[in-house]
Symmetry: none
Subunit: 231 residues, 2 copies
Amino acid sequence: MAQETILLVDDEKEIVQLLDIYFRNEGYRLLKASDGIEALEALRSEAVDLIILDVMMPRMDGVEACMKIREHRHMPIIMLSAKGQDIDKITGLSIGADDYVTKPFSPLELVARAKSQLRRYKQLNRPAERESGEIEIDGLLVDVASHEVSVEGRAVKLTPREFAVLELLARNRGIVLSMERIYEHAWNEPFLDGGNTVMVHIRKIREKIERDPRNPRYIKTVWGVGYKIDK
Amino acid sequence: MAQETILLVDDEKEIVQLLDIYFRNEGYRLLKASDGIEALEALRSEAVDLIILDVMMPRMDGVEACMKIREHRHMPIIMLSAKGQDIDKITGLSIGADDYVTKPFSPLELVARAKSQLRRYKQLNRPAERESGEIEIDGLLVDVASHEVSVEGRAVKLTPREFAVLELLARNRGIVLSMERIYEHAWNEPFLDGGNTVMVHIRKIREKIERDPRNPRYIKTVWGVGYKIDK
DNA sequence: ATTTTTCTTAAAGCTTTCTTAAAAAAACCT
DNA sequence: AGGTTTTTTTAAGAAAGCTTTAAGAAAAAT
C-alpha cells in the first residue's frame, strides 16, 4: 500500500517536532509548513492526503487557509485550536474542516482522528468497489460481502486468515503466489521469519474445501515456488 | 446514468457555498433554497432525488419542512442539526428524516451519507417498491418509521442506540459490518478508541431479541470481521 | 433537582484462531 | 537408490477476539 502523506501546518516548532515523531512512527510521510502561505505552496507541488491546520498562525491563519484550500481541494482537514480560541466561533463558521481538535491534545488522539479521516476519505473515493463481491471457481464460491464460502452448495466455515488467503488466491487465478506474497497480503505485514504458518493455513483450507486434500482440486502446490488456483 | 439532483436547504451562505463545491465535484446537480418555504416551492417545479435540510432556519425551519415534505413525497432527507437536538426524534416517526449530520459537520461525511441514501432509495425503487417502513426477517419485525421492534409478534423495547444498530444490520442483510462501520453509522461520530461499546450493545440487543443469545438466530458474529444478519 | 434510563468502560472468563515446532511424507537431484 | 530439500501433517501452547457482568458516568425524563 502506498504511503500516505500528511501536511502539518503550524508555526509552533515543538508541536511540529512532537507530531513528526508520532506520525512517522505510524508510517506516514509528514510534510511541514509554518503558515497558510507555505501550506498552499506545498499543496501545489505535492500530493497530500490529509491536512492538519493550526488556527493561529502568522501571515495566513488556519481559517483562511482552510477556506482557500477548500476552493480547489477536498482532502480531509483537521483544525487545531487553542482552548481559549472560542471553538464555537470557528466551528460555527463552517469553514469546511472535517474535524476539530483543541490544544492541548494528546498526540495519540490526533493520530487516531487522522487515521479515521483518511479511512473515510479512501472509502469515498472508491464506493463502487464492490469488487464483484462474489468469486466463483468450479464449485467453489467465495462471497466477500457476507464473508461466506461454499463448495458445491455446502457452506464452509473459514477463519479470517483462511478467508484472506483463499480470497487472495481466488482473485489471482492462474497466478502462482509465493509464501511471502501470500503472507504479506493476507497478514498485512512483512514476511520476516521462514516459518511455515502459511503452509499450515493452506492445509487447513484444503481440509475444509477439498474432497481429497492430498489431491487438491482448487489450491495447487507449485513446488519450490508457491500456490495457485488454476484458471 | 442521469445526473442526480440534490436540494440543499440552508440559510447560511457559507455552508451552501461550501457544499456546492463538494457536490458539484461529485457530479451532482445542486439546487439551493434558504428556508422551508423556498424548499417546498423548489420541490414543486423540479425533480429532486435527495434533500438536505438545516434544522435551524427562518420562516420555516427544517423540522417543519421535513414533515411537510413527508406528507407528499417519498425521498431521502438528511438533516443538519446542532448537537444535542433530539436526534432520536429527528429520525423518528413524527419528523421522519432518513439520516442526520451534526454541526459542525465534516463535508466528506455529509457527501458519504448522501451517497448512501441515494443508493438505498434507488435500490428500493427498483426491485420491489416495498418500503412500508418495515423490515421483516424471519420473525423479527423492525419498523423503521416508528422505531419499534417485535419478535414473533411480541413487542420488544430497544433503546435508541440499540435500535440504530439493529436497523443498520437489518438494512444490510447478508453483509458483514465491522465494529467500526457500525459505530460510525449508528453513533454518527468517528470510531477512535478500540472500545467494546458496540459489542456490549450487540449483547443487549441479543438479550432482547434472541431466544438463546449464545446461539443467535438473527445477529451472527463473524469472527475477526464483525456482525451480520444472514440473508 | 431528583429519579430513571441509557451508555460507556473495564475486567474476567471463555472460545476461537494462530503460531510454532517437530515428525512424516513427497518431490527433486545426482 | 540414497541423500537432500521442500511440503504436509499434527498437536499443543500462545495469542487474539468475543461474551458477559457489573458499576459508574452521562443523558433524559419527571
